[in-house]
């Protein structure tokens, strides 16, 4: 799943005929001032300013300001841009018009095993979260095109009456079309509001998750995907992602500040079992990492370099199951080069390395790892006869 920020998310909804408020995304006060000179709505409407970053709880952080005129919006922009929140620096804000309204509703579309669920409620905002039973569901099988009647039925079920039934059905229909056409995995508008001046339904806020795997058939996805865990990617994480996008197979790396056990395991499945074992043993993870699909040795070397650069680590877990086709000797060659480089840069002092692996050319690979002992590494090497996560138990003994 790939998260998309509000600006591009609203752009996609607009593309499929959903009415969204006027908005601009800016990176400086000057830009907003210039836009104010050419856009009437910025001068006339009341405005909302929000930090345009992958941040949760923006309200609490003071990164949402409402009911502003253009001057006020400029002041809020100045205040927000450059603010540091954890590892994220606010570099953009989204300025949108406030839509005067009395009623708030809810509409979402999500991917399910069978196909798609369309969710509708005639309450919105915080109210819907505490009244989840008021959310009504239209379940569609994949490939099924629902009739307008089906949308009207779910709107009626949700308690809409009169002309609002058709309006909400129409809104939900467009949401579904957007979802289906854009390879979305989750679309949520909360709230959907009824604009006072023309009684039109407006999407006031958008949560958009797209299927990153479908990017190849969406040439207009010209926006970057946002990090999904509430902070920006670090420099090292982005370096590994850049390598990952270039190679056959994959390398993954996420930093977890404050940990002391570094992870360098093979395989998307085994890596989680290794992480579980560390936590179960009372260790603190310093990162998540994984390489798989027989990646080139240089890619594994880059990953190793980043793992060795994690601050304050005491152990490195070079774990892995019995590979199907990943060449153990080749990938270990990358890890060994990474270790040597790290050592020559003065890293890995007092760090213990734990290795367990099987697969094609396992003997050669494990022998090469063992030989690192002679170069002064504190390394312990085990083969397939030692169960998968036992090296974590050994590493964290005495914890």
């Amino acid at each position: 799943m790939a998260k998309v920020l509000e600006g591009p998310g609203m752009g996609l909804m607009k593309k499929w005929g959903i009415t969204v408020p006027n908005y601009v995304v800016v990176t400086s006060v000057d830009e907003l001032t210039k836009l104010g000179q050419v856009n009437e709505w910025l001068k006339k409407s009341k405005l909302v300013v929000k930090a345009h970053e992958a941040l949760g709880s923006r309200f609490k952080l003071g990164l949402v300001k409402v009911d502003l005129d253009l001057k006020g919006a400029e002041a809020a922009t100045k205040e927000m841009i450059g603010r540091q929140v954890g590892s994220i620096t606010v570099s953009q804000v989204i300025v949108s018009e406030m839509v005067p309204h009395k009623e708030e509703y809810y509409c979402a579309v999500k991917s399910t095993r069978e196909g798609t669920d369309i969710l509708v409620a005639n309450c919105g905002g915080i109210e819907v979260e505490s009244n989840w039973e008021r959310v009504k569901r239209l379940a569609l099988e994949v490939g099924q095109q629902p009739s307008p009647n089906a949308f009207e039925k779910v709107a009626k079920d949700a308690g809409f009456t009169g002309p609002l039934v058709k309006k909400m059905a129409d809104f939900a229909g467009k949401m579904f079309t957007c979802f289906d056409s854009e390879d979305a995995q989750y679309l949520e508008v909360n709230p959907v509001v009824l604009r006072e001046q023309d009684s039109e339904l407006i999407a006031l806020d958008a949560v958009t998750l797209l299927d990153g795997d479908a990017k190849f058939r969406h040439p207009d996805w010209n926006f970057a995907f946002a990090a999904e865990f509430g902070r920006a990617y670090s420099e090292h994480e982005m370096e590994v992602m850049a390598v990952d996008s270039k190679i056959k197979g994959s390398v993954k790396f996420i930093e977890i500040p404050g940990g002391d056990t570094a992870m360098l395991p093979a395989g998307g499945g085994a890596s989680i079992y290794y992480s579980d074992a560390v936590v179960a043993r009372g260790g603190k993870l310093a990162n998540y990492a994984e390489y798989s699909g027989d990646p080139p040795d240089w890619a594994v070397e880059v990953l190793t370099d980043k793992v060795c650069s994690l601050p304050g680590i005491k152990n490195i877990i070079v774990g892995g199951a019995i590979a199907n086709f990943t060449d153990v000797k080749k990938t270990f060659g990358g890890i060994i080069n990474g270790f040597r480089k790290a050592k020559s840069e003065g890293k890995l002092k007092g760090v213990k390395i734990w290795v367990r692996r099987g697969g094609p050319r396992e003997k050669e690979g494990l022998d090469a790892m063992r030989a690192l002992k002679d170069e002064g590494f504190d390394i312990n090497v085990f083969d397939r006869h030692t169960p998968l996560t036992d090296i974590v138990d050994k590493a964290l003994q005495g914890k």
Partner: protein, 606 residues
């Protein structure tokens, strides 16, 4: 027995290189269990009509490649299974094509990164047709002793170690491809091994889930227990628990779930396979899954490490209750023929070499010239002439000798566009011919009349010096046995118009005060010949030859100095013409003396 794949499974592989690699692995398995290769065809339009050669034992099997699945199944009606190795952007089309073929019963998609919507559509379509769609992102399916689909099971040694050559009693279902082998291995060490192991792929919505396969295992009498390896995210494990708890099941269910680390990670941080995403309301967590499985009566070890002992205990129970018997191990298994390299490493065969070399070795991490690593030569200040010395004469020449060679090369690197060599290259370049062929066109000119006299000059001067001939004796000898003296004489240069290159080289070499018997002799010869005729001077070939013989280079290598140096110039001429985008040239009529007979009538053919 087994499920999904057995002795009657015949396969078409859709895709290119990755599919061929899988076929190789599958051939290793077929060889181990002594059945013929179960891959009968490939579908890969770019290579349609050709064959892929798949090693089987010590031989090769040619497997035909077709343009469409329909063609493949028409020619091989036994095919009932497809493995899809097509790229993510075309996987949907290929998947639909193969599902719609009436011969096909099982499709396993290996492709990773298939859009979720496409995977769902494929799964639904298969369901409607009553077929099995496994994957995407599946590592494969293996039934011990009967059939391997994909690379699951790993290298040949691992197939043997994990006893995949004969059936056990445990079914295996995993999302993770990497862990499938681990579980197969554990089943073979702690119990009697597996019946069938299936990688269902780590995507959020795999085409076929645990429940469908559990149902199949339940109906397979050979399978006594099933091991499932779950992950956080989605609800596949909960569904499996629901199925298991719904009524009394014949098979025992052993399950592990990963993702407990999630509980102690910073809020919002998630990782793992695409399917490893928690639901919005906390459903799909490792804990809720493992609780559901326990409640349904499954054996759920607390950690992955406890899985082996749990499997062992289950197996012991089965043994005690008489449901399984200790397996009889096969006495002899085929050994995968080794490659020549492997056998030589093990000192098992001796191969008579085809060629012999005494100058260089490329088998390490860098080439060694006569034993010296190239990088070390560079770092210790050696230069190109030293490399020439090592590769042409197998010795490390002195600094002074290197300087002489450098000067010889600089002096003979080029001699303008008019000489035979350069002209040949330029004509070729203008005709649009590539670099190496154009340079070769110039090099072809080097011979007895152009640049190729160095070796002969060196040979005869050396002969004279070695035999202590006088100049007169030498000239008589040459007149009688050879003809004109190689290295003596020039087309345009003469005593009055001396060749500056010769003067330069002779001057430098003489200034070094070392012994130069050959050069001295050549200069003596010039004294006599140039008196007879003004242009019979020591030319640049002769000078180079004499100097190089004095340094000690073998006579046969001497032309190489001219060839090497002049190549620099020829490359220059080619690049020069290319840069100017020169047009094709042809000789003007007036530069040709047309001495052929005048136009005349052709007589009738007799």
């Amino acid at each position: 027995m087994s499920i999904l794949a057995d002795k009657d499974t015949y396969v078409v592989i859709q895709g290119g290189v990755a599919g061929v690699n899988a076929a190789r692995r599958m051939a290793e398995f077929c060889y181990l269990i002594k059945r013929s290769l179960n891959v009968l065809a490939f579908v890969y339009p770019p290579d349609a009509g050709k064959t892929n050669e798949i090693p089987y034992g010590s031989g090769l099997v040619a497997i035909p490649i077709y343009k469409t699945v329909a063609e493949a199944t028409k020619h091989h009606p036994q095919i009932n299974t497809s493995l899809v190795y097509i790229g993510a952007d075309r996987a949907m089309k290929g998947g639909m094509e193969v599902l719609d073929d009436p011969h096909i019963k099982v499709v396993s998609m290996i492709t990773e990164g298939v859009p979720e919507k496409d995977a769902k559509i494929l799964g639904r379509h298969a369901n409607k047709l009553g077929k099995v769609f496994n994957g995407p992102s599946s590592i494969g399916i293996v039934s011990a002793g009967s059939c391997r689909l994909g690379v699951i099971g790993g290298a040949f040694d691992n197939l043997v170690l994990s006893k995949l050559y004969r059936e056990g009693s445990f079914g295996v279902i995993t999302k993770s491809g990497g862990l499938s082998n681990e579980i197969i291995w554990i089943c073979s060490q702690f119990a009697d091994g597996i019946t069938t192991a299936i990688g269902i792929g780590g995507d959020a919505y795999p085409g076929t889930d645990y429940v469908s396969y559990l149902e199949m295992f339940e109906n397979d009498p050979q399978t006594k227990a099933v091991v499932i390896v779950g992950e956080m995210g989605g609800d596949l494990e909960e569904r499996a628990a629901e199925w298991y708890g719904a009524k009394k099941r014949r098979v025992k269910l052993i399950a592990v779930v990963s993702g407990f680390c999630q509980e102690s990670l910073p809020k919002g941080m998630k990782f793992g396979h695409a399917g490893a995403k928690e639901g919005l309301k906390g459903e799909g967590s490792a804990r809720s899954k493992s609780d559901a499985l326990k409640k349904a009566g499954a054996i759920v070890p607390a950690t992955f490490g406890a899985l082996g002992p749990a499997i062992k205990e289950t197996y012991q129970d089965l043994l005690r209750s008489g449901q399984v018997k200790e397996p009889v191990e096969l006495l002899s298994l085929p050994k995968l023929p080794r490659t020549i390299e492997e056998a030589m490493k093990a000192d098992e065969v001796m191969v008579a070499p085809l060629i012999r070399t005494t100058i260089s070795d490329d088998r390490g991490d860098e080439p060694c010239y006569d034993g010296y690593p190239a990088s070390e030569l560079i770092n210790k200040g050696y230069e190109i002439p030293h490399v020439i010395g090592l590769l042409w004469d197998k010795r490390l020449i002195s600094k002074q000798e290197a300087e002489i060679i450098k000067r010889i090369m600089m002096l003979s690197a080029d001699h303008g566009p008019c000489v035979s060599g350069a002209l040949g290259t330029i004509i070729a370049a203008c005709a649009g011919i590539g670099l190496s062929q154009s340079v070769a066109a110039g090099l072809i000119m080097i011979g007895p009349r152009f640049g190729g006299a160095v070796t002969d000059a060196g040979r005869y001067f050396k002969h004279a010096v070695d035999n202590k001939m006088s100049v007169d004796e030498f000239l008589t000898y040459m007149k009688k046995n050879v003809g004109p003296v190689p290295g003596i004489g020039h087309r345009v240069k003469s005593l009055r118009n001396p060749d500056k290159r010769v003067k330069e080289l002779v001057g430098y070499v003489k200034s070094l005060n070392s012994k130069t018997p050959c050069l001295d002799f050549a200069l003596e010869v010039e004294k006599v010949t140039s008196v007879k005729k003004d242009n019979l001077i020591l030319n640049v070939d002769g000078t180079m030859a004499a100097v190089l013989v004095d340094i000690g280079f073998p006579v046969d290598s001497l032309n190489g100095f001219f060839i090497l140096s002049r190549t620099i110039g020829l490359i220059g001429h080619w690049v020069d013409q290319k840069r100017q985008d020169s047009r094709l040239i042809r000789l003007f009529d007036y530069l040709v003396n047309y001495a052929a007979p005048k136009r005349r009538e052709v007589p009738p053919l007799k």
